[in-house]
Symmetry: C2
Amino acid sequence: MAHLPKRLTGDQAAINQFLDQFDIFLFDCDGVLWSGDHLFPGTVETLELLRSKETGKKIVFVTNNSTKSRADYQKKLTGMGIPSNVDEIFASAYSSAIYISRILKLPAPKNKVFVLGESGIETELKSEGIEFIGGTDPAYRRDITPEDYAGIADGSLLDENVGIVLAGLDYHINYLKLSHAYHYLTRGAKFLATNTDSTLPSNHAFFPGAGSISIPLVNMTGQQPIVLGKPSQAMMDSIEGKFQFDRKKACMVGDRLNTDIRFGIEGKLGGTLAVLTGVSKKSEWEAEGAPIVPAYYVDKLSDLMG
Amino acid sequence: MAHLPKRLTGDQAAINQFLDQFDIFLFDCDGVLWSGDHLFPGTVETLELLRSKETGKKIVFVTNNSTKSRADYQKKLTGMGIPSNVDEIFASAYSSAIYISRILKLPAPKNKVFVLGESGIETELKSEGIEFIGGTDPAYRRDITPEDYAGIADGSLLDENVGIVLAGLDYHINYLKLSHAYHYLTRGAKFLATNTDSTLPSNHAFFPGAGSISIPLVNMTGQQPIVLGKPSQAMMDSIEGKFQFDRKKACMVGDRLNTDIRFGIEGKLGGTLAVLTGVSKKSEWEAEGAPIVPAYYVDKLSDLMG
């Protein structure tokens, strides 16, 4: 059985020792910094403490949100009252664009992307100079027609340069888009997903997440996508590729054991810190044979201020 | 290892012995009677032979097609040139309606159905006097709004009498409908699917099937639906409930081992007859350890005419 995590809340010596170990903190956001539209008290001050000259830590906001570009997400942080720099933000749309342009590197011209998703994905693909179709194009936001069936089936309505299908959260998912994506996959396109969260928190409830867009394609093709969001290590590789840090000096902070903490453990980071202000409960890692146990935990993030 | 099937093609004595055993034949359609829009030669004559006074067999057309009511499907048969009676047709939309009204029998008023699907399902639910919402209602064929999020999350936009979510093939699937269906399921509605075929043949290719509509809900809730199409035995129970036949005197005829032939074997019918004009090949049942082996096969259905 794994060691139980060290609780840092109320233990200043342990907090100091904890902070001294790390140069960079990767932060999950919802459930850690805020919940829904409610900013947790002390979030801003805790981030300031980490960034301050005394500690000099690097901060990265890591989110599976695939509908927002980094710039969109910075607006969200600003709206929540959290100062940030766009370079501190790593969202799954950006992670996907980085993966396509810097790791996958399919030879042109067969490297076009068919997108299931919103404008955040398109913005990040453009920022990496990646060609794409689908996405928010109104031409795909309609019912399927007999001409579509014929042209998709015989390929005449498909773009022969599409080499990748990228599935993120698409609020405008429909039968026509699924049909296109399926046919590109059967013709050999690589299958990527920004993230595969089955649900997404909103309005203190859950709604369909990006995994709801990719799962019909998994079911139809029998293929699993390369996933560019937590806990997939393809995302960690992208983060490391961009920030060039020593994994032993990095700590992942999050509220979900099976995404955030798992992401840090499987990425062999020096540490993982769980907070109890989100989804996972202490009882989960205290359970006999708990598969995922963080190295540290605090009741709430601001407990790091001592 | 199971016995290899008896080939009937060209063996009149074996054909006569085969026909003598059965009172009722359950027919899969696409791949057996026709392929796409091409009627196989001899289909009409073979069905006539079975129905004729000399043999006096009962015929049932069994289809997983969930978008059509029995009346719609009869029009399709007529269009293909196949004479039929609406009472000979058993489609998964009808199967679902029968299951809800005669087997599930939830107490009113909490027995309303939220439908993901087309008009065929609505027609069959109406024919059984079942109340429903969703389906082809234009109120659900639109983008989700902030008001929808709030009202779905707090339940104010949900119908408290919905006790069943029925997922069939919905050519107008969207994020709003998936959100409604998901929330009804999390509030305890029973989860039913007309069928779970991941794909559907069309234009000599494949397109998303009814399974593509239910699979995001399976993924979000962790629940499996009760399935009312082949090879689910819930469909066989519905067929038996309606036609009142001796299973030992019934034979399932189909082209797909993993749906049609499996349906007949698991239903403990007296016989199964595979045809080689559709999806499955002879090599599949000849393979070492083949899990599904029909009792009989013909190269093509019209070989039964001898």
